[in-house]
């Protein structure tokens, strides 16, 4: 038990969710004879669900600050049609179309942020209105037509990295990315350990670190190979690279910036945040703007994947996104949740859907099962909170936590300070 706790360290909740993800993947791989783990299917998951993963990053901050955004699907639809028409009718080059689409999305976000922050209309209402407003705007602009987008944008949505270098039988850029990811994980772990030691903290024994790193590196290696050995011309999708970059950026915002801290403070105790001088209006405004900015990014990837805009673009997206964030461990009451957790939550829901699809489960059962998963995930959240524990899947690891007193986590302060 002690060894397990040390192995998982401070991010136990995320590891638990990640563990669930592996179990679900293994289950579907077993049931489908390994078909779900084929590179083509993995690529399909990333490309098909990229919009949910991207928007989950924005929705996380909105939910953590105690609000909700019901409009990103409609916003994405408007961005998609603006992007496509600006290229087709106005003769914008493809990159200018992208910039225009992002500008439109950001402007819509500022509109919604202003209603929430400066006029005080609750986010639920502001964005419910926005959902109708921008859905109507999309229909008005598109006039019912489907507008194709140029191949560069298709590449962003569903393209692959170009292969180069020696003929290895694998996709070389994917291999390089995989190696970079492994090195980054190792570097971070060693640096973090060094920091704790310098700060006078207690670190777990070396073998724990080695075992942990070995597990993560092995998982990364499997994924790298899986993505790299697909049909010639395929690789880790371009959309996946964009998502990874966004995750790194927003993880940094969450854990290391003042505005990130402000979002958590506003969600944790709004009155306290105001008394300590945090600018609540600014936090609301930025988080809502950011959400629609990401809806614009998602829209670009989605119309790229589809090859053209469509009238049903963005329909019901907000529900998938909100579900992903809550499955990923965000608390309904705000103040709790992580970027990495939300991405894992999104991956969890996408792998679940994809696995059931490959298994031939009908969309009726698929929807019911996903609904139940969401319900159970949030119930765990509430249950573990009632138990006085931080949250969510931590409840599943309760057996380990009960020994907390004996095995002070690796993040403890110097014992002599703690004792005084």
């Amino acid at each position: 038990m002690k060894a397990l706790r040390q192995f998982f360290g401070a991010n136990m909740r995320q590891y638990a969710l990640f563990g669930f993800l592996i179990v679900v993947m293994a289950f579907f791989a077993w049931q489908t004879g390994g078909r779900t783990l084929h590179s083509e299917n993995l690529q399909n998951i990333i490309i098909g669900w990229s919009y949910v993963l991207v928007m989950a990053l924005g929705m996380l901050f909105v939910i953590v600050m105690g609000q909700i955004d019901l409009a990103p699907g409609s916003v994405a639809a408007v961005v998609g049609i603006c992007l496509a028409l600006s290229i087709k009718d106005w003769g914008f080059p493809w990159w200018a179309g992208i910039l225009f689409g992002i500008a439109v999305g950001t402007a819509i976000g500022m509109w919604q942020g202003a209603w929430l922050a400066y006029i005080g209309v609750p986010g639920f209402i502001t964005t419910l209105a926005g959902q109708m407003l921008f859905r109507g705007l999309d229909q008005h602009i598109s006039n019912g037509q489907s507008v194709p987008v140029p191949p560069q944008i298709v590449k962003i949505g569903s393209g692959f990295l170009p292969d180069w270098g020696p003929h290895t039988g694998f996709n070389n850029p994917t291999l390089v990315l995989g190696v970079i990811a492994m090195l980054a994980v190792i570097y971070r772990e060693i640096r973090r350990r060094g920091k704790i030691v310098r700060g006078g903290g207690v670190v777990p024994p070396t073998w724990v670190m080695v075992a942990r790193l070995a597990t993560v590196v092995a998982a990364l290696a499997i994924l790298t190979i899986a993505f790299a050995n697909g049909r010639p011309g395929t690789s880790f999708p371009v959309a996946g690279v964009i998502i990874v970059l966004l995750v790194i950026f927003y993880h940094f915002v969450e854990t290391r910036t003042t505005i990130g801290r402000g979002v958590y403070a506003v969600g944790g105790n709004k009155a306290a945040a105001a008394l300590t001088g945090i600018n609540i209006k600014k936090v609301y405004f930025i988080a809502m703007t950011n959400m629609s900015f990401l809806a614009a990014v998602a829209a670009i990837m989605f119309v790229g994947k589809s090859g053209s805009t469509g009238l049903s673009d963005g329909n019901g997206w907000e529900l998938d996104v909100i579900a992903a964030v809550f499955v990923g461990g965000a608390a309904v009451s705000g103040g709790v949740g992580t970027v990495v957790g939300s991405v894992i939550g999104g991956l969890f829901m996408s792998i679940l859907s994809n696995g059931m699809f490959v298994l031939g489960v009908g969309s009726d059962w698929s929807a019911m099962i996903r609904g139940l998963v969401l319900l159970v995930a949030v119930a765990f959240d509430l249950y573990s909170k009632a138990q006085g524990r931080p949250s969510i899947t931590g409840a599943i690891m309760r057996g380990l936590r009960s020994r907390r007193k004996e095995t002070q986590g690796e993040e403890q302060v110097r014992p002599e300070v703690a004792k005084i």
């Binding site: 910036t257 801290r261 403070a265 306290a272 008394l275 300590t276 103040g335 005084i420």
Partner: protein, 263 residues
């Protein structure tokens, strides 16, 4: 710390505040010196918390003069109060339970570089402050939700020591605490006084007030209603002033002179 020996650290003159038809404060005076704990007492609605919020920058007065170290100041925001060296512990624990001890200590005034917060530096200072207060917080990284009410109040008090405060305002710091926790908080208050700060303690609890305060200022219905030296005044006298059985006669003891030399 700040070595102004003679003049008051904080002086408030003729402070008034109305909320619509209600006169919350009328022409109130208050002075606090370094190395002094001034207790602000009074019945519910006497205007104690309103006065505290003005010092904290959470509520501007309608009229009146606030001086810090002899200089007239305005305190429009909590950030301005912080820059003037005023730190406040609000009545309802103004802390975020979802964040850890360090995050709460630096909430709203995070140290940061060009891009990122300086988390290591903030954590180091947190440990130092907790050590100075001799508080029983297990770790600077403990989430507030895992602490007892008393420990949370310790965190709220530790928060006042971030930066270089000169004046600390404590609004009902012991209101919802157990006996042992109250004792711990009172010890913290004494330690703040030893550090040379001027402290305003708002409390309903006469036992607490008499245990740590040097001077007791009574508010009644938004007006000054007496000033007492803790050592000389009797319990009955203070209660009488709070309930209005005695009125402050015009030449009542002006609050300016330090009644007891503590040092």
């Amino acid at each position: 710390m700040i070595g102004v020996a003679q003049g008051p650290l904080l002086a408030m003159h003729g402070i008034s505040k109305r909320f619509g038809a209600v006169e919350a404060l009328t022409d109130v005076d208050l002075e606090v010196h370094a190395h002094e704990v001034v207790a602000l007492v009074g019945d519910n609605g006497a205007g104690k918390s309103t006065l505290a919020k003005m010092v904290a920058g959470a509520l501007p007065p309608d009229s009146g003069l606030i001086e810090i170290d002899g200089e007239a100041v305005t305190i429009p925001t909590p950030a301005a109060a912080y820059n003037l060296g005023v730190a406040t512990v609000f009545q309802d624990f103004a802390l975020c339970e979802n964040l850890d001890v360090t995050a709460n200590l630096f909430l709203g005034r995070e140290m940061h570089g060009a891009l990122r917060r300086s988390d290591e530096e903030m954590e180091r200072i947190t440990r130092e402050v907790l050590h100075r207060l001799a508080s029983r917080i297990p770790s600077a990284r403990t989430p507030l939700a895992a602490l007892s009410a008393g420990q949370r109040q310790s965190v709220a008090i530790a928060r006042t020591l971030i930066g270089s405060p000169r004046i600390v305002v404590l609004d009902e710091p012991t209101a919802s605490l157990s006996v042992a926790q109250t004792a711990e908080v009172l010890t913290h208050i004494e330690r703040l006084r030893e550090m040379g700060l001027g402290i305003i303690l708002i409390s309903h609890n006469m036992t607490d007030v008499r245990a740590v305060a040097d001077r007791i200022e009574v508010l009644r219905l938004g007006r000054n209603n007496g000033s007492f030296s803790t050592q000389r005044a009797s319990y009955e006298e203070i209660i009488a002033a709070i309930t209005g059985a005695t009125r402050a006669e015009p030449p009542w003891q002006p609050s300016g002179a330090p009644l007891s030399a503590v040092g």
